[in-house]
């Protein structure tokens, strides 16, 4: 039992670091690890994934919000779409074909991968036309970039498409239990043209709130198995505190380079699931 606990905790530290850096919940890394290497049943793995998402968000966002890299107003505004989507998604389980959703999700990620690749050398977005809605909702902001050694002011464009992508992100997390963070980062980076660090840090703030929409149901259904969830929670929390330390030392372009293979991996995985392997 100690071996299992320590191994799961160790893998969770890695998932927490990556999740905190990339604005993902770590479920992308945790679920395959638990089911493939530790033979954890899929429901218990899904429960551990929800715990991992909230743990990543709690640990990482605490630092990012403090450093003002996470934009709280932007996050609260966009969680209107993600939580509503997640609630509706949870109701559509069994009603909507998940195969179809996997394919759409894969295509969306494929498109985003191209956009990310094209922006690979761009440190900060330029020539962003601020959306009047962004001013209305106070979504523009500033953060201090330690690597660039200066304050970075930014404004948001594409508020409506961004909001729509957030709704889809919520829907997929409610329906498929995955991909929530990935789509959130892409929505902010690609559609709203925010700096990459702001996108991943704000996603970190949002994923916990989105996941909380389904967390209670997971708990009452018994998906959260204490023996599995405990080492995951501890490992991920530790990792998610280390992640922000790394982020403050890397460039936006580096972050994007780490992000791209993850997007491609998940896109391929979703496509295989959608096409029924």
């Amino acid at each position: 039992m100690i071996d299992f606990t320590l191994l799961v905790m160790g893998s969770s530290v890695v998932a927490g670091v990556l999740g905190a850096l990339l604005g993902l919940g770590g479920g992308t890394f945790i679920v395959p690890a638990l089911t493939l290497f530790f033979n954890v049943p899929i429901h218990a793995a899904a429960g551990a994934s929800i715990v991992s998402v909230i743990a990543t968000s709690t640990g990482a966002a605490s630092a990012y919000v403090h450093d003002r890299v996470s934009n709280v107003r932007l996050g609260v505004f966009l969680t209107v779409a993600t939580t509503t989507g997640a609630l509706i998604g949870a109701f559509l389980v069994g009603v909507v074909s998940t195969r179809f959703l996997y394919v759409i999700f894969a295509l969306l990620l494929g498109y985003s991968a191209v956009a990310i690749f094209q922006k690979r050398g761009v440190e900060l977005p330029e020539g962003v036309r601020p959306d009047p809605l962004a001013r209305r909702f106070g979504l523009n902001g500033a953060y201090y970039d330690k690597v660039l050694a200066r304050r970075v002011d930014y404004s948001a464009s594409g508020v409506v498409p961004g909001f729509a992508i957030m709704f889809v992100a919520g829907l997929t997390s409610g329906l498929l239990g995955i991909g929530s963070g990935l789509l959130k980062v892409l929505g902010m980076d690609v559609a709203m043209k925010l700096p990459m660090k702001v996108s991943t840090a704000t996603s970190n703030f949002m994923i916990g709130i989105t996941a909380a929409t389904t967390a209670a149901a997971y708990f009452f259904r018994g998906y959260i198995q204490p023996g599995v969830a405990a080492p995951v929670a501890i490992g991920v929390l530790v990792g998610s505190v280390l992640g922000p330390q790394i982020m403050s030392r890397v460039r936006n372009t580096t972050l994007r380079k780490i992000f791209l293979p993850v997007v491609l991996y998940v896109a391929a995985d979703m496509l295989l699931k959608g096409l029924g392997r």
Partner: protein, 129 residues
């Protein structure tokens, strides 16, 4: 003033540092409380060699509360996990409180809506479960 002149929205129009500090603090408190309790439960689990429920584990509040009085390892772990799972609720509630106190009606409505969806989902999740 710059905003009045139609400058690009470079200057944040409001000071949200109090909000950021309050949210960051609630996340830290939730995280530390949960990791401490989960870790204590994990130590109990390793010492006892079992969770205290045979092959099963609790998944409702009443069983967790009852097990907590007997220091059953799984009940202690679950108590920590419940704190973690409900930390986002605390965060949104803090936002609602902040916006309400500062008379920001737009964001009071936005954050209250999010809190409402969260509470609705918890209620439905309980019924559904």
């Amino acid at each position: 003033l710059d905003a009045e002149r139609g400058e690009p929205a470079q200057v944040p129009e409001r000071d949200d540092s109090v909000l950021d500090e309050a949210i960051s603090k609630s996340l830290r408190v939730g995280g530390i409380a949960s990791i401490a309790i989960v870790a204590a439960g994990l130590v109990l689990l390793i010492l006892a060699g079992h969770g205290g429920y045979g092959g099963a584990y609790p998944h409702d509040f009443a069983t967790v509360a009852a097990g907590l009085r007997l220091f059953k390892p799984f009940a202690v772990i679950d108590a920590g996990l419940i704190i973690l799972l409900f930390t986002p609720y605390l965060v949104v509630a803090v936002a609602v409180w902040f916006f309400g106190r500062h008379g920001d009606r737009l964001y009071l409505a936005v954050s209250s809506f999010v809190l409402f969806v969260l509470c609705l989902s918890a209620a439905l999740g309980h019924v559904g479960g």
